[in-house]
């Protein structure tokens, strides 16, 4: 396998979220990873943004549809007369 193409801090920063989101192609991901392995400031930025995204997920996923709504949907949607085929 060839060594990944060298990228600079700016390119790494531009692709950081895509890297964290798992949205890069394997080649592009390897380039970012190689840069992060070598570059302490970018690695530090990665840790910070990763912590931020984890925090966002943790703070926003607790909400569930209320029981009264679930009940209404069971009663009104699933037994909807207008959609009787």
């Amino acid at each position: 396998m060839n060594a990944p193409r060298k990228i600079d801090c700016q390119e790494a920063a531009e692709r950081l979220y895509e890297y964290l989101d798992g949205e890069l192609t394997p080649d592009s991901e390897a380039e970012v990873r190689a840069h992060l392995d070598d570059c302490a400031p970018c690695f530090k930025l990665l840790g910070f943004e990763d912590a931020y995204l984890s925090f966002l997920r943790a703070r926003t996923r607790a909400h569930q549809a209320p029981e009264h709504l679930k009940k209404k949907i069971f009663e009104q949607v699933l037994f909807d007369q207008d959609s009787a085929s």
């Binding site: 995204l53 926003t60 209320p66 085929s85």
Partner: protein, 188 residues
């Protein structure tokens, strides 16, 4: 043999209903209040049920439901304007918060002190297209391609909206943390 209506009911219960919480969370962030979110979800699920024959089994039911939700919201609910201030996402300097805190708190520990309601309030202050992109990604974990499908824009637009939304939200939460004394501003 079961009637077609029963097959549909069964398929809908199995495939669509487990996503009710996800649909509700997105509805709540789009509509901005619980009563409207309730109506929006109910209407979305009813439309989905009535057009279930258009859904191709085995494809992405979550993206399909969220697309119906979004259309319903835009066509019928958005007219009722939301109140409240909107965060400016126009001038986003990349990773500004990190540059401010990298000496004092490089691991972002100050985030841990910010409670759920405050985060949701901050999300609600984002302009709509940025808010929906962020919610679909960071709350519901959709891929960029799925977000592009639901919001009807190219993947490149999803990427840039997500970057700006995350950075604007981070700045807002940082400002809040400063105000609350969770973190001290670094003098330079």
């Amino acid at each position: 043999m079961a009637a077609p209506a029963d097959n549909r009911r069964e398929a809908f219960e199995r495939e669509a209903l487990p996503l009710l919480d996800a649909v509700y969370r997105v509805a709540l962030r789009l509509a901005g209040d619980e009563a409207q979110a309730d109506d929006l979800v109910q209407e979305t699920m009813l439309k989905a049920y009535r057009s279930w024959h258009q859904y191709k089994s085995g494809t992405n039911v979550r993206a399909w439901l969220l697309t119906i939700l979004r259309h319903t919201f835009i066509n019928e609910y958005r007219k009722k304007k939301r109140a409240g201030p909107t965060v400016d996402v126009g001038e986003i300097e990349g990773y500004h918060v990190f540059h401010e805190v990298q000496e004092a708190d490089p691991e972002g520990n100050f985030f841990d002190q910010i409670v759920d309601d405050e985060v949701l309030r901050a999300i609600d202050s984002l302009p709509e297209e940025f808010r929906e992109t962020l919610v679909l990604s960071d709350v519901e974990q959709l891929t960029y391609a799925e977000i592009a499908e639901v919001t009807g824009v190219p993947v490149g637009t999803v990427k840039s909206r997500l970057f700006r939304a995350r950075q604007a939200l981070q700045q807002k939460l940082y400002d809040y943390a400063l105000e609350m004394g969770y973190i001290k501003r670094v003098e330079r």
